[in-house]
Protein backbone atom coordinates (compact mmCIF):
# COMPACT_ATOMS: atom_id res chain seq x y z
CA UNK A 1 0.00 0.00 0.00
CA UNK A 2 1.25 3.45 -0.85
CA UNK A 3 2.10 5.30 2.31
CA UNK A 4 1.80 9.01 2.91
CA UNK A 5 5.42 9.68 2.15
CA UNK A 6 5.28 7.87 -1.14
CA UNK A 7 2.06 9.64 -2.07
CA UNK A 8 3.51 13.08 -1.33
CA UNK A 9 6.66 12.29 -3.22
CA UNK A 10 4.60 11.18 -6.18
CA UNK A 11 2.39 14.30 -5.99
CA UNK A 12 5.46 16.50 -6.05
CA UNK A 13 7.11 14.62 -8.86
CA UNK A 14 9.87 12.91 -6.92
CA UNK A 15 10.93 9.36 -7.38
CA UNK A 16 9.80 7.34 -4.40
CA UNK A 17 13.05 5.48 -4.47
CA UNK A 18 15.07 8.67 -4.20
CA UNK A 19 16.89 9.63 -1.06
CA UNK A 20 14.97 9.95 2.15
CA UNK A 21 13.04 13.21 2.36
CA UNK A 22 13.55 14.86 5.73
CA UNK A 23 10.45 15.02 7.92
CA UNK A 24 10.39 18.78 7.82
CA UNK A 25 10.42 18.86 4.03
CA UNK A 26 7.67 16.27 3.97
CA UNK A 27 5.55 18.36 6.27
CA UNK A 28 6.09 21.42 4.10
CA UNK A 29 5.27 19.45 1.00
CA UNK A 30 1.99 18.50 2.63
CA UNK A 31 1.24 22.12 3.45
CA UNK A 32 2.02 23.22 -0.09
CA UNK A 33 -0.28 20.53 -1.47
CA UNK A 34 -3.06 21.67 0.87
CA UNK A 35 -2.65 25.30 -0.20
CA UNK A 36 -2.62 24.30 -3.84
CA UNK A 37 -5.91 22.45 -3.39
CA UNK A 38 -7.43 25.45 -1.63
CA UNK A 39 -6.27 27.84 -4.34
CA UNK A 40 -7.79 25.61 -6.99
CA UNK A 41 -11.18 26.26 -5.47
CA UNK A 42 -10.85 29.99 -6.01
CA UNK A 43 -11.41 31.97 -9.18
CA UNK A 44 -8.49 32.97 -11.38
CA UNK A 45 -8.83 36.52 -10.20
CA UNK A 46 -8.78 35.61 -6.52
CA UNK A 47 -5.73 33.39 -7.00
CA UNK A 48 -3.92 36.06 -8.94
CA UNK A 49 -4.62 38.68 -6.30
CA UNK A 50 -3.56 36.50 -3.38
CA UNK A 51 -0.38 35.18 -4.95
CA UNK A 52 0.82 38.43 -6.45
CA UNK A 53 0.05 40.30 -3.25
CA UNK A 54 2.06 37.71 -1.35
CA UNK A 55 4.84 38.36 -3.87
CA UNK A 56 4.72 41.96 -2.71
CA UNK A 57 2.90 43.62 -5.60
CA UNK A 58 1.40 47.02 -4.87
CA UNK A 59 -2.26 47.82 -5.53
CA UNK A 60 -1.46 49.62 -8.79
CA UNK A 61 0.40 46.58 -10.04
CA UNK A 62 -2.41 44.26 -8.96
CA UNK A 63 -4.95 46.44 -10.75
CA UNK A 64 -2.88 46.25 -13.91
CA UNK A 65 -2.50 42.50 -13.59
CA UNK A 66 -6.20 41.74 -13.31
CA UNK A 67 -7.49 44.60 -15.42
CA UNK A 68 -9.52 46.54 -12.87
CA UNK A 69 -9.53 50.05 -11.50
CA UNK A 70 -7.02 50.47 -8.65
CA UNK A 71 -9.82 51.67 -6.39
CA UNK A 72 -11.39 48.20 -6.60
CA UNK A 73 -8.34 46.28 -5.46
CA UNK A 74 -8.96 46.66 -1.73
CA UNK A 75 -12.48 45.31 -2.00
CA UNK A 76 -11.44 42.44 -4.28
CA UNK A 77 -8.49 41.55 -2.09
CA UNK A 78 -10.59 41.50 1.07
CA UNK A 79 -13.15 39.24 -0.60
CA UNK A 80 -10.45 36.96 -1.97
CA UNK A 81 -8.91 36.59 1.47
CA UNK A 82 -12.30 35.91 3.00
CA UNK A 83 -13.02 33.18 0.45
CA UNK A 84 -9.55 31.69 0.82
CA UNK A 85 -9.87 31.59 4.61
CA UNK A 86 -13.26 29.92 4.25
CA UNK A 87 -11.87 27.28 1.89
CA UNK A 88 -8.96 26.60 4.20
CA UNK A 89 -11.29 26.24 7.14
CA UNK A 90 -13.68 23.93 5.31
Amino acid sequence: MENNRARLLRVHGQDVSSEEMPAEQLERAGRVAMVRRALLQLSDRDRTLLLLREEGFAYMELAEAIGVDPSSVGTLLARARRRFAAVLGA
Binding site: Q25, V32, V35, A38, V73, R82
Partner: protein, 253 residues
Amino acid sequence: MSPHPTEGTLQEYLDGEVAPPQLGVVDRHVRACHQCRTLVAELASMEETTRAVLTDFVAAIPAADQALWEIRRARAVRRSAANRRRVATAASLVLIAGASWAAAMPGSPVREWWDGRLGVEPSGPIEPQLPTAVDTPRAGMNQLPLDGRIMISLDGVSAGNWVEVILADVERAAVSVPAGSSFETGPGRLHVEIEGPQVDVRIEIPEGAVAADVVVNDQLFLQKSGVGITYPGPSPVVTESGTVRLRVGGGAP
Protein backbone atom coordinates in the same frame (compact mmCIF):
# COMPACT_ATOMS: atom_id res chain seq x y z
CA MET B 1 -18.11 61.39 12.54
CA SER B 2 -17.50 60.78 8.86
CA PRO B 3 -19.43 58.02 7.06
CA HIS B 4 -18.16 54.46 7.51
CA PRO B 5 -15.41 53.64 5.01
CA THR B 6 -16.11 50.66 2.76
CA GLU B 7 -14.48 47.32 3.47
CA GLY B 8 -12.25 47.91 0.48
CA THR B 9 -11.09 51.24 1.86
CA LEU B 10 -10.35 49.64 5.22
CA GLN B 11 -8.35 46.95 3.42
CA GLU B 12 -6.40 49.69 1.65
CA TYR B 13 -5.90 51.44 4.98
CA LEU B 14 -4.59 48.21 6.50
CA ASP B 15 -2.21 47.71 3.58
CA GLY B 16 -0.92 51.27 3.72
CA GLU B 17 -2.44 52.10 0.34
CA VAL B 18 -4.58 55.07 1.37
CA ALA B 19 -2.90 58.34 0.49
CA PRO B 20 -3.36 61.71 2.18
CA PRO B 21 -5.66 63.53 2.62
CA GLN B 22 -8.04 60.54 2.67
CA LEU B 23 -5.67 58.75 5.01
CA GLY B 24 -6.33 61.28 7.75
CA VAL B 25 -10.08 60.98 7.32
CA VAL B 26 -10.02 57.18 7.46
CA ASP B 27 -7.58 57.12 10.33
CA ARG B 28 -9.66 59.48 12.45
CA HIS B 29 -12.79 57.49 11.69
CA VAL B 30 -11.26 54.14 12.59
CA ARG B 31 -9.90 55.50 15.85
CA ALA B 32 -13.35 56.78 16.80
CA CYS B 33 -15.50 53.94 15.46
CA HIS B 34 -15.63 50.65 17.31
CA GLN B 35 -17.43 48.94 14.43
CA CYS B 36 -14.73 49.84 11.92
CA ARG B 37 -11.94 48.97 14.32
CA THR B 38 -13.49 45.53 14.68
CA LEU B 39 -13.67 45.14 10.90
CA VAL B 40 -10.04 46.24 10.52
CA ALA B 41 -9.05 43.67 13.14
CA GLU B 42 -10.97 41.01 11.24
CA LEU B 43 -9.31 41.96 7.96
CA ALA B 44 -5.92 41.90 9.65
CA SER B 45 -6.64 38.46 11.06
CA MET B 46 -7.62 37.13 7.63
CA GLU B 47 -4.51 38.67 6.14
CA GLU B 48 -2.34 36.95 8.72
CA THR B 49 -4.04 33.65 8.03
CA THR B 50 -3.51 33.84 4.30
CA ARG B 51 0.05 35.10 4.64
CA ALA B 52 0.91 32.30 7.03
CA VAL B 53 -0.02 29.61 4.52
CA LEU B 54 0.98 31.38 1.33
CA THR B 55 4.49 32.25 2.47
CA ASP B 56 5.63 28.64 2.23
CA PHE B 57 3.73 28.19 -0.99
CA VAL B 58 5.25 31.18 -2.72
CA ALA B 59 8.67 30.38 -1.34
CA ALA B 60 8.59 26.98 -3.03
CA ILE B 61 10.17 28.41 -6.12
CA PRO B 62 13.25 26.77 -7.57
CA ALA B 63 16.14 28.87 -8.72
CA ALA B 64 15.31 27.97 -12.28
CA ASP B 65 11.93 29.66 -12.11
CA GLN B 66 12.86 32.55 -14.29
CA ALA B 67 9.39 34.06 -14.44
CA LEU B 68 9.09 34.62 -10.71
CA TRP B 69 12.69 35.68 -10.51
CA GLU B 70 12.09 38.33 -13.13
CA ILE B 71 8.96 39.49 -11.34
CA ARG B 72 10.91 40.04 -8.16
CA ARG B 73 13.67 41.83 -10.01
CA ALA B 74 11.28 44.02 -11.97
CA ARG B 75 9.37 44.92 -8.87
CA ALA B 76 12.51 45.79 -6.98
CA VAL B 77 13.50 48.38 -9.50
CA ARG B 78 10.00 49.76 -9.96
CA ARG B 79 8.90 50.20 -6.41
CA SER B 80 8.35 53.64 -4.99
CA ALA B 81 8.33 54.96 -1.48
CA ALA B 82 4.56 55.32 -1.53
CA ASN B 83 4.08 51.61 -1.96
CA ARG B 84 6.08 50.40 0.95
CA ARG B 85 4.23 48.72 3.75
CA ARG B 86 4.64 46.70 6.86
CA VAL B 87 7.76 48.50 7.74
CA ALA B 88 9.05 47.54 11.13
CA THR B 89 11.48 49.72 12.97
CA ALA B 90 14.77 48.12 13.80
CA ALA B 91 17.80 49.05 15.77
CA SER B 92 21.26 48.23 14.51
CA LEU B 93 20.81 44.62 13.69
CA VAL B 94 21.30 41.80 11.32
CA LEU B 95 18.41 41.07 9.03
CA ILE B 96 17.60 37.67 7.73
CA ALA B 97 15.68 37.12 4.52
CA GLY B 98 14.44 33.68 3.76
CA ALA B 99 14.35 32.27 0.32
CA SER B 100 13.50 29.31 2.49
CA TRP B 101 13.42 25.86 1.06
CA ALA B 102 13.07 27.07 -2.49
CA ALA B 103 15.39 24.50 -3.94
CA ALA B 104 13.89 21.65 -1.97
CA MET B 105 10.81 21.21 -4.09
CA PRO B 106 11.07 19.91 -7.62
CA GLY B 107 8.37 22.18 -9.03
CA SER B 108 7.16 25.68 -8.31
CA PRO B 109 3.47 25.73 -7.39
CA VAL B 110 3.26 29.35 -8.42
CA ARG B 111 4.78 28.55 -11.78
CA GLU B 112 2.37 25.65 -12.22
CA TRP B 113 -0.50 27.97 -11.52
CA TRP B 114 1.01 30.56 -13.80
CA ASP B 115 1.34 28.12 -16.63
CA GLY B 116 -2.23 27.00 -16.21
CA ARG B 117 -1.17 23.46 -15.40
CA LEU B 118 -3.55 23.34 -12.46
CA GLY B 119 -6.35 22.69 -14.87
CA VAL B 120 -7.79 26.18 -14.79
CA GLU B 121 -7.60 28.09 -18.01
CA PRO B 122 -6.81 31.77 -17.53
CA SER B 123 -9.30 34.11 -19.10
CA GLY B 124 -9.58 37.76 -20.08
CA PRO B 125 -6.99 40.13 -18.72
CA ILE B 126 -6.15 37.93 -15.74
CA GLU B 127 -2.73 36.90 -16.96
CA PRO B 128 -0.25 39.45 -15.68
CA GLN B 129 2.23 40.92 -18.12
CA LEU B 130 5.44 39.19 -17.19
CA PRO B 131 8.72 40.83 -17.85
CA THR B 132 10.58 39.05 -20.60
CA ALA B 133 13.18 36.66 -19.31
CA VAL B 134 16.61 37.72 -20.43
CA ASP B 135 19.96 36.04 -20.39
CA THR B 136 22.07 37.20 -17.53
CA PRO B 137 24.95 39.21 -18.94
CA ARG B 138 28.24 37.48 -18.43
CA ALA B 139 30.39 40.54 -18.75
CA GLY B 140 31.98 41.79 -15.61
CA MET B 141 34.22 40.16 -13.11
CA ASN B 142 34.25 36.79 -11.52
CA GLN B 143 34.82 37.08 -7.85
CA LEU B 144 34.75 34.08 -5.62
CA PRO B 145 36.10 34.68 -2.14
CA LEU B 146 37.86 31.71 -0.63
CA ASP B 147 35.00 30.81 1.65
CA GLY B 148 32.34 31.25 -1.02
CA ARG B 149 30.61 34.20 0.60
CA ILE B 150 30.25 37.58 -1.04
CA MET B 151 30.86 40.49 1.28
CA ILE B 152 29.59 43.82 0.02
CA SER B 153 30.00 47.25 1.52
CA LEU B 154 27.75 49.99 0.20
CA ASP B 155 29.61 53.14 1.14
CA GLY B 156 28.04 56.49 1.83
CA VAL B 157 24.43 55.38 2.12
CA SER B 158 22.32 58.18 3.54
CA ALA B 159 18.85 58.63 5.00
CA GLY B 160 16.10 58.12 2.49
CA ASN B 161 18.09 55.62 0.43
CA TRP B 162 16.83 52.09 0.19
CA VAL B 163 18.60 48.82 -0.41
CA GLU B 164 17.02 45.61 -1.60
CA VAL B 165 18.59 42.16 -1.72
CA ILE B 166 16.84 39.58 -3.88
CA LEU B 167 17.72 35.92 -3.54
CA ALA B 168 16.84 32.96 -5.68
CA ASP B 169 17.89 29.85 -3.91
CA VAL B 170 19.67 30.35 -0.64
CA GLU B 171 18.19 30.46 2.79
CA ARG B 172 19.40 33.78 4.03
CA ALA B 173 21.43 36.88 3.52
CA ALA B 174 22.58 39.26 6.18
CA VAL B 175 22.42 43.03 6.04
CA SER B 176 23.86 45.27 8.73
CA VAL B 177 22.01 48.56 8.89
CA PRO B 178 22.27 51.64 11.08
CA ALA B 179 20.02 52.17 14.06
CA GLY B 180 16.63 53.57 13.19
CA SER B 181 16.48 51.97 9.77
CA SER B 182 13.49 49.92 8.84
CA PHE B 183 13.05 46.76 6.88
CA GLU B 184 10.55 44.64 5.06
CA THR B 185 11.02 41.01 4.20
CA GLY B 186 9.25 38.65 1.87
CA PRO B 187 9.99 35.36 0.20
CA GLY B 188 13.40 35.69 -1.33
CA ARG B 189 13.84 39.38 -0.73
CA LEU B 190 14.85 41.84 1.91
CA HIS B 191 14.19 45.55 1.70
CA VAL B 192 15.88 48.12 3.92
CA GLU B 193 15.09 51.80 4.17
CA ILE B 194 17.99 53.71 5.59
CA GLU B 195 17.55 56.28 8.32
CA GLY B 196 20.08 58.29 10.24
CA PRO B 197 23.44 59.72 9.21
CA GLN B 198 25.43 58.62 6.18
CA VAL B 199 26.75 55.15 6.82
CA ASP B 200 28.18 52.08 5.17
CA VAL B 201 25.72 49.22 4.75
CA ARG B 202 27.24 45.77 4.81
CA ILE B 203 25.67 42.84 3.01
CA GLU B 204 26.68 39.22 3.12
CA ILE B 205 25.44 36.86 0.45
CA PRO B 206 26.22 33.35 1.60
CA GLU B 207 28.05 30.57 -0.13
CA GLY B 208 25.84 28.66 -2.52
CA ALA B 209 23.77 31.57 -3.77
CA VAL B 210 23.28 30.76 -7.43
CA ALA B 211 21.56 34.05 -8.18
CA ALA B 212 21.23 37.27 -6.25
CA ASP B 213 20.68 40.94 -6.95
CA VAL B 214 21.50 44.03 -4.91
CA VAL B 215 19.42 47.08 -5.82
CA VAL B 216 19.94 50.56 -4.42
CA ASN B 217 17.43 53.32 -5.11
CA ASP B 218 16.03 51.74 -8.27
CA GLN B 219 19.52 51.01 -9.58
CA LEU B 220 20.94 47.53 -9.93
CA PHE B 221 24.31 47.54 -8.19
CA LEU B 222 25.24 43.88 -8.23
CA GLN B 223 23.94 40.92 -10.14
CA LYS B 224 25.16 37.44 -9.38
CA SER B 225 24.42 34.51 -11.64
CA GLY B 226 26.38 31.35 -11.10
CA VAL B 227 29.99 32.32 -10.57
CA GLY B 228 29.61 35.48 -12.61
CA ILE B 229 29.10 38.79 -10.88
CA THR B 230 28.34 41.97 -12.78
CA TYR B 231 28.20 45.51 -11.47
CA PRO B 232 25.84 47.54 -13.68
CA GLY B 233 26.21 50.55 -11.37
CA PRO B 234 29.32 52.00 -9.77
CA SER B 235 32.60 50.21 -10.35
CA PRO B 236 33.60 47.98 -7.47
CA VAL B 237 36.73 48.15 -5.40
CA VAL B 238 37.73 44.81 -3.92
CA THR B 239 39.64 45.09 -0.67
CA GLU B 240 42.36 42.74 0.52
CA SER B 241 39.84 40.94 2.70
CA GLY B 242 37.70 40.27 -0.37
CA THR B 243 34.97 42.76 0.48
CA VAL B 244 33.41 44.40 -2.56
CA ARG B 245 33.06 48.12 -1.92
CA LEU B 246 30.52 50.08 -3.95
CA ARG B 247 30.13 53.82 -3.58
CA VAL B 248 26.49 54.94 -3.21
CA GLY B 249 26.93 58.49 -1.93
CA GLY B 250 29.42 61.17 -2.88
CA GLY B 251 33.19 60.88 -2.47
CA ALA B 252 35.76 58.34 -3.54
CA PRO B 253 35.51 54.75 -2.26
